[in-house]
């Protein structure tokens, strides 16, 4: 059971980090920030002249921004799923703990085993 809880917590933390980082990176790509030039520039021989280079670079910036936001959205879904996983795992743990405390259910299950 704690495996499900562990997975849930990991996914939740990863999703929160991913949402923050990818969203901000998407904005930066939209703003055509120079720090990301190496991600956006076309390959070494993939362009003919200066104007083509600039055009491709600008296009790439926009495309990557969209990529980032799409990934952000998928991580939002993952966040929701992980939250539900954690809730489910906690519920199960609580019910198992209650079961042990309750004399009747405990002894009934024990007698059945014999």
């Amino acid at each position: 059971m704690s495996l499900l809880l562990g997975c849930g917590v990991c996914c939740m933390l990863l999703s929160i980090w991913a949402i923050l980082q990818l969203f901000v990176m998407g904005i930066f790509f939209k703003m055509e920030v120079l720090a990301f030039i190496e991600e956006a520039e076309p390959d070494h021989h993939g362009y003919e002249d200066y104007d083509d280079f600039m055009k491709q670079t600008k296009e790439n910036y926009q495309l990557i921004a969209v990529n980032c936001w799409v990934a952000t959205f998928i991580y939002v879904i993952t966040l929701g799923l992980s939250y539900m996983c954690i809730k489910h795992a906690k519920n199960k743990e609580r019910m198992a703990a209650d079961n042990v405390q309750d004399d009747e259910t405990y002894c009934r299950s024990k007698a059945k085993r014999l």
Binding site: L14, W17, A18, Q21, L22, V33, L34, A35, F36, I37, E38, E39, D49, Y50, N60, L63, I64, V66, N67, C68, W69, V70, A71, F73, I74, Y75, A97, V100, Q101, D103, Y106, C107, K110, A111, L114
Partner: protein, 838 residues
Amino acid sequence: MGSLFRSEEMTLCQLFLQSEAAYACVSELGELGLVQFRDLNPDVNAFQRKFVNEVRRCDEMERKLRYLEKEIRRDGIPMLEIPGEVPEAPQPREMIDLEATFEKLENELREVNQNAEALKRNYLELTELKHILRKTQVFFDEMADPSREEEQVTLLGEEGLMAGGQALKLGFVAGVILRERIPAFERMLWRACRGNVFLRQAEIDTPLEDPSSSDQVYKSVFIIFFQGDQLKTRVKKICEGFRATLYPCPEAPADRREMAMGVMTRIEDLNTVLGQTQDHRHRVLVAAAKNIKNWFVKVRKIKAIYHTLNLFNLDVTQKCLIAECWVPALDMETIQLALRRGTERSGSSVPPILNRMETLEDPPTYNRTNKFTSAFQNLIYAYGVATYREVNPAPYTIITFPFLFAVMFGDLGHGALMAAFGFWMCYKEKPLQAKKIDSEIWNIFFGGRYIVLLMGLFSMYTGLIYNDIFSKSLNIFGSSWQNNYNESTLRENKALQLNPDSEDYLQYPYAFGIDPVWQLAEANKIIFMNAYKMKISIIIGVFHMLFGVCMSLWNHIYFKRRISIYVEFIPQIMFLTLLFFYMVLLMFIKWTTYGPTPPYFGSQDPEIVKTSGFCAPSILITFINMMLFKTDANTRPQCDPTMFAGQIGLQKFFVILALMCVPVMLFGKPYYLMKEQKKRDSQAHQSMEAAAENGAAGGAPAPAPRGHDDDITEVFIHQAIHTIEYVLGSVSHTASYLRLWALSLAHAQLAEVAWNMLLRKGLKSAGYQGGIYLYVVFAGWAAISVSILVLMEGLSAFLHTLRLHWVEFQSKFYSGEGYLFQPFSFEVILDSAGQTEE
């Protein structure tokens, strides 16, 4: 007022306790946790001490409690933690009540367990009988039909039946055996009875529970037909050997049916009884589970008190117990109050007496720390406990440790992750502590939560200075570099340089930290950062070491070693300053003197060339030439050979002065000690002569000259080792600080590789599946970042910082030859008992 500056003042005290009040007083002192008792009966065997009976009773109680705990754990019942306050040690008379309770519980539980086992055995027998009756029905049915197979009733053949007068009746035994044993059993029967017995077997489908081991085992029913008494005994013996249980099975089907019904009813009854037994056991255990932690604490406290009482001495009058203890001098009042409380509680009239004792022994080292400072103090203690009343490096470590870590780890993103982790641990401190998690790795991280938090925050700061967040830079204030090349130049050249001695550089630096453009400079980013980081490392290192040497001054002053100040501290400081602090100054001079002169970029005017970047000398070469008294040929004729006027002369002077410090360090102290000895010897002679003149009327001779415990060669050797260590160490330690540069370079490069090889592939992917691909790649990049860059690099930087503190910093002043103050404290005892239990 106690402080972290140096360890607390301790006094050795003698404690006189009246025997009736002793228990209560020791209980109060245990709650307080400020007193370290000494063992006054070291040669007495554990079995001959005064309170050995009480300790034995406590051990017995603990054994019973452990048995109860094992049973509770076996049933999976949760044991409640103690709500509210930890209970106090109970009075001695309460011990009898506790013993009675535990005895009762243990007996009850053992009885229930025994009954349950007997019942289960019974149940097993009945179940096996039930299976036998069912399966043998099949055998007898087949037997009843004579026209079936040959190997049936007429085992002896028709002749046997017809020949003898009487019909030969076949006997049989029925039983149950473990399935695994059947092949061997069959073989043995065949061989022993020479094939004259007939075995039929059928498997029991459901596994049965073995009562003693609670395992589920598979068994088979068998029935053996034989003729004659001899075979019967033989078969019975073989069954015994294979531990098969035999059951009486009636021949007639009607009898069998009746028996089957009887068995069924008995099984039902037994089930009910078993259920009720388990129920009762569970109730007993649940009731016990509510109190068991409480009881454990009480019993452990009683045991601890009696162990401590065993350390005391009994007074001649047998009415009073004497104890010797180390006590922090500032806490005498608190201890007196505790003792008074104890005597009041026990109803005794005689107040306890706490006496100070004079002693020449070394007291233990005690530092009063809180949850924040204790982590840093433990880092220092891990290397060596401070000598009594020595200057404590811990308060400075609170800042220098995270700072040096951050210089090696500087990344805003990774620092933020570490700070978030540390913040969560500190914020959720109380609930996490209450959980008492077992894992040792977790306990290490949790114990250092404040260190982790500080390291993360400082790393965020140095990340901003290095302008590095996950290997990308942030352009917050606008870069100070601009591109002035025209389009054709850009198109034709693969790589171009921006010259700071031109309009390319705006002549004022980026407002905070490294300019963001450097992250994009593939070709010479590393060369530039190397120059910067190496100089910073040496500057930080020299300051750290100078600070360490200054700490030794405080030690010399406190321990009144005035001569050490003159022959050790002053030469040490001079050596370090004249050589390495001078090098630091050279770095600052180089930074400020050489650079572009704004209106006259690239001018050839000799005056301007002399202060341009072209003429900046190499600090390392300058330093090496300084030490070797060498001058290189000037390869750049437009430049001055020196940085400032009189540099060569000044450097020669510094080196000679520094070298003169070495013999002072080497011979100063031994020479002074030799002089002192001669003076003492001559004084002793004089006083002895004076005593002889006065007519020594049976007076004792003058006190022998104290102190020259080691002869003079040992002092020389000791001092030589110290000097060589310091002199050579100053060179090697200064270079050792370059690890600050090396690790930060490694971290930056690893982060860059992770981004370029992983995340860039995800970002560049095209089309609609690009987003999904990025989703997957980001998870991988995040995993690599956390595991390699935060965890592995973090541990590595932590280790190197620790080494820098322990070796480079502390070797300048720390002797670390003390022993730790370990007070008698219930908290400590309960914690360690709880841990060993798990």
